[in-house]
């Protein structure tokens, strides 16, 4: 056993999945090492043997042979260890020289499946998985263009995480691209595990309530965004494409809609805008009309609302907040629960609880209708994060409306509009409507 393999063995002595075995390769003994949790050993060996048979000159020395399967390295043990962690196989000869080889890996990735969080009607069903290479491959398959560029980074100090940056040459705005690249290179030593880390690396404030990324599971979506001049980021082990910059219009559009005729597409988008407005306005409007400005309503309407609130002991704001809180709890619970129990929760939460709470005179009938409509409308918005942000803004408006009535409602709207207009991602305003026109040709 050579000096090198001893040193390596010492380093890995606490890892039981590390293997080191001698094998015949090309009539001479070599040592192979790696992680048996990452490498499919028998198959890898088979392939190596097969390969030795295919060599045309049978009396080539081992060293020369090793050169044909990879770069022969010497000495530097850290390189070897890094490669082993990355799941590579090391073939080590007696002279302390080694070759790093790509083995047959153990299957640790799921196969490409339909998306789990974004439903697609009538469109491509494949979605991204955890593996970066596969994801880039999916994009390449979707967009066969010589102009698609991929740049990989290895980010982090304690552990290296792969980060891939994709763009289409000639379509992307050069300032944005170079600024993103600068940011990544500047912060390349920061740890990268999740989206918060990514926004930290890109220099975004952690207190933003509106995500600066558009996230998507769908290759078709990512490619469409690339064609619009945006930049796509992949993090290894996250099955999501992070698309930069994100724009307000993304809340209402999905690439898949282009599979419908034009009128239907417009109709769906209008529905989403209505959904957004409903989510924001309706609970606030209820509070404003019941508590502050009942005079705005037609008298019959005002009376029927007052009747339905008969016996409700507390002010409209508390009433709305209680119900909103219960709804948030139901939503959060249905995310945590296994899929088989989910429908039960809807049943218990929606029907039984709703009925009971009205019977107990804790809230009015009308409020149940309003909140159910609000919650449903909330999910017409594209993107989980977007709908979360809108859910948050709804509370701001409810509170404003409880103080200033209808005026507070619209003042809250103005505040939200102003906040959204103040968001900028690498110089691109969040409220751009046509990125291709406004950004690329700027």
């Amino acid at each position: 056993m050579g000096e090198l393999s001893k040193k390596v063995k010492k380093r890995f002595k606490n890892n039981d999945d590390f293997f080191q075995q001698e094998t015949y390769l090309y009539k001479e003994i070599v040592e192979i090492m790696g992680f048996n949790t990452l490498i499919n050993i028998p198959k890898t060996k088979d392939i190596l043997q097969e390969y030795t048979k295919s060599v045309l000159t049978p009396d080539m020395p081992l060293d020369d042979f090793l050169k044909t399967i990879g770069e022969v390295k010497e000495g530097n043990i850290d390189d070897a260890i890094q490669s082993i962690f990355e799941g590579k196989l090391i073939i080590c000869s007696n002279k302390d020289q080694y070759v790093v080889v790509d083995p047959i890996p153990k299957e640790l990735n799921r196969s490409i499946e339909p998306p789990s969080n974004e439903n697609v009607l009538q469109g491509s069903q494949s979605s991204f998985i955890e593996d970066v290479e596969t994801n880039i491959g999916l994009i390449r398959k979707e967009k066969t263009s010589e102009k698609l560029r991929v740049k990989s980074y290895s980010v982090g100090k304690r552990q290296n995480k792969k980060l891939a940056l994709l763009y289409i040459e000639g379509n992307v705005n050069k300032d944005i691209l170079s600024e993103i690249q600068n940011q990544i290179e500047k912060n390349i030593k920061k740890e990268l595990q999740n989206q918060q880390d990514l926004s930290n690396i890109l220099g975004f404030s952690p207190w933003l309530t509106m995500s600066k990324f558009r996230t998507s599971e769908l290759p078709s979506e990512a490619v469409k965004m690339l064609l619009q001049g945006r930049v796509v980021l992949f993090i290894d082990r996250l099955p999501i494409a992070f698309i930069l910059p994100s724009l307000i219009w993304d809340m209402f559009t999905v690439e898949n809609e282009h599979n419908y005729p034009y009128p239907l597409m417009i109709l769906i988008r209008v529905l989403r805008v209505v959904g957004l407005l409903t989510t924001l306005i309706v609970p606030g409007l209820y509070v404003a009309l019941v508590a502050v400005n009942p005079g705005v309503l037609r008298i019959e309407m005002a009376l029927s609302i007052a009747q339905s609130r008969q016996g409700v002991p507390y002010p409209a704001l508390v009433e709305v907040l209680i119900m909103l809180l219960i709804l948030e709890l139901i939503l959060e619970a249905s995310v945590r629960l296994p899929k088989s129990i989910g429908p039960t929760i809807t049943m218990v939460g929606g029907i039984i609880l709703g009925q009971a709470i009205v019977d107990a005179k804790l809230v009015s009938n009308l409020l149940i209708i309003i909140l159910a409509a609000t919650t449903i409308a909330n999910f017409t918005i594209v993107g989980v994060q977007n709908s979360l942000s809108i859910r948050l803004y709804k509370y701001l408006i409810v509170i404003f409306a409880s103080i200033y009535g209808v005026f507070g409602l619209l003042a809250g709207m103005l505040l939200i509009i102003a906040y959204l207009s103040s968001l900028r991602t690498f110089g691109v305003s969040y409220l751009n409507f046509n990125l291709e026109r406004d950004v690329i040709k700027r």
Binding site: V292, N293, G295, V296, L297, R298, I299, M301, F400, I403, Y404, G405, V406, F407, G408, L410, A411, M413, L414, L415, I417, A418, L420, S421, S422, S429, L431, N432, F433, N434, D438
Partner: protein
């Protein structure tokens, strides 16, 4: 995004916000018949001075009005700019105070006045603190959301009109010229236009299109006065504090769940006014920061809005507000006459020098 469209929409919505409250009152007070004459005269005046102003500015591409005056020396620029600061400051105070009173009168009768002023100033300061680009972006989105609502209700306001009140058309009454109220009505013309001189390095615009949008305002000026007159007649509408709002209150639509659409109309105008306030605050700050460059823009802004809030709370009653409004008329005519002409003269001169 098309900057031209943003400037035009800003011009449009801020004017619309200013027209519908005080303007009809002042015009109806100043003339007893043929109201279209004072309106047209005001409008022609408006068009002439914005044309002069824009023509003057066009000699200095990429420069704002502060730079233009600074070229002529610090002393001269002080002389020219201090009245503008005074004008904006007073305009800010009267607008905040007057519009919060309107809110209190129309729909928040139980809320104390200082409490209604807070959202006004707070939101305007917030928007102004984010800078001119955000002000314009916000104005654009606000216009997309609220202009349709505003136009819809504006059209509904014609429900009860009787067109015969339009007559007599030519029995012209010139008494408005000597009436104080008529000069107050110029607030609606002179409040906004100066911003065209402040946005130059950030936004460029097509002069003709801004001019067209100014012409487009004519029907709104005209009907803000005529709708109450056509609904109630001159004698009755002269007794109302806000004639247009009262006229709108008389509208009844059977298919709407809301009884008082006035409220939605008012609120969309108030939203436009908040944009206007943020624009005013931003302009005052940019002048102040230019003279005292050590202080940060945002600090000046916070200081100003707190000061404005304190002054607004201290004003005892509506009479004082009206007086302030009247005093501001002197500043207003200074702004209307001196600023456009001086910019034009400087422009023509500097062009000659280049030759």
């Amino acid at each position: 995004m098309n900057k031209n469209l943003q400037v035009i929409l800003m011009y449009f919505i801020t004017h619309v916000g200013l027209i519908f409250f005080m303007y009809p009152t002042d015009i109806i007070e100043s003339a007893s018949r043929t109201h279209w004459v004072p309106i047209f005269i005001g409008m022609v005046f408006h068009l002439v001075f914005i044309w002069i102003y824009m023509k003057g500015l066009s000699y200095f591409p990429g420069k704002n009005i502060i730079d233009i005056y600074m070229e002529k020396g610090k002393g001269l620029s002080l002389i020219f700019l201090i009245p503008i600061i005074g004008y904006f400051f007073l305009a800010n105070i009267t607008t905040v105070r007057a519009y919060s009173e309107i809110i209190n009168i129309v729909f928040l009768s139980e809320t104390p006045l200082w409490a209604t002023m807070i959202p006004f100033l707070f939101i305007a300061t917030y928007i102004a603190a984010k800078g001119i680009n955000v002000i314009f972006h916000t104005a654009f989105i606000v216009a997309c959301v609220f202009l349709p609502l505003f136009l819809f209700i504006f059209i509904l306001s014609f429900q009860n009109v009787d067109w015969r009140y339009f007559f007599p058309l030519f029995d012209i009454d010139y008494s408005f010229i000597s009436n104080r109220s008529y000069y107050k009505s110029f607030f609606s013309f002179a409040g906004v236009f100066l911003f065209l001189g402040f946005i130059q390095p950030y936004h460029t615009y097509d002069r003709k299109k801004v001019f067209l949008s100014a012409i487009l305002l004519l029907p709104f000026f005209l009907f803000s006065v005529y709708v109450p007159i056509l609904t109630f007649g001159q004698a009755t509408s002269a007794t109302f504090q806000f004639p247009f709002v009262t006229a709108l209150d008389s509208v009844y639509i059977s298919w709407l769940v809301f009884d008082r659409i006035t409220m939605f109309f008012l609120i969309s105008l108030l939203i436009f006014i908040m944009i206007f306030l943020s624009l005013l605050l931003w302009m005052v700050c940019s002048i102040l920061v230019h003279f005292v460059p050590i202080v940060k823009h945002s600090y000046v802004l916070y200081f100003l809005s707190i000061l404005i809030f304190i002054i607004c709370v201290m004003l005892p009653d509506w009479k004082v507000v009206e007086n302030l409004f009247w005093w501001n008329t002197y500043f207003r005519f200074y702004v209307i006459l001196v600023i456009p002409f001086s910019v034009l003269i400087f422009g023509v001169r500097s062009k000659r020098k280049v030759r």
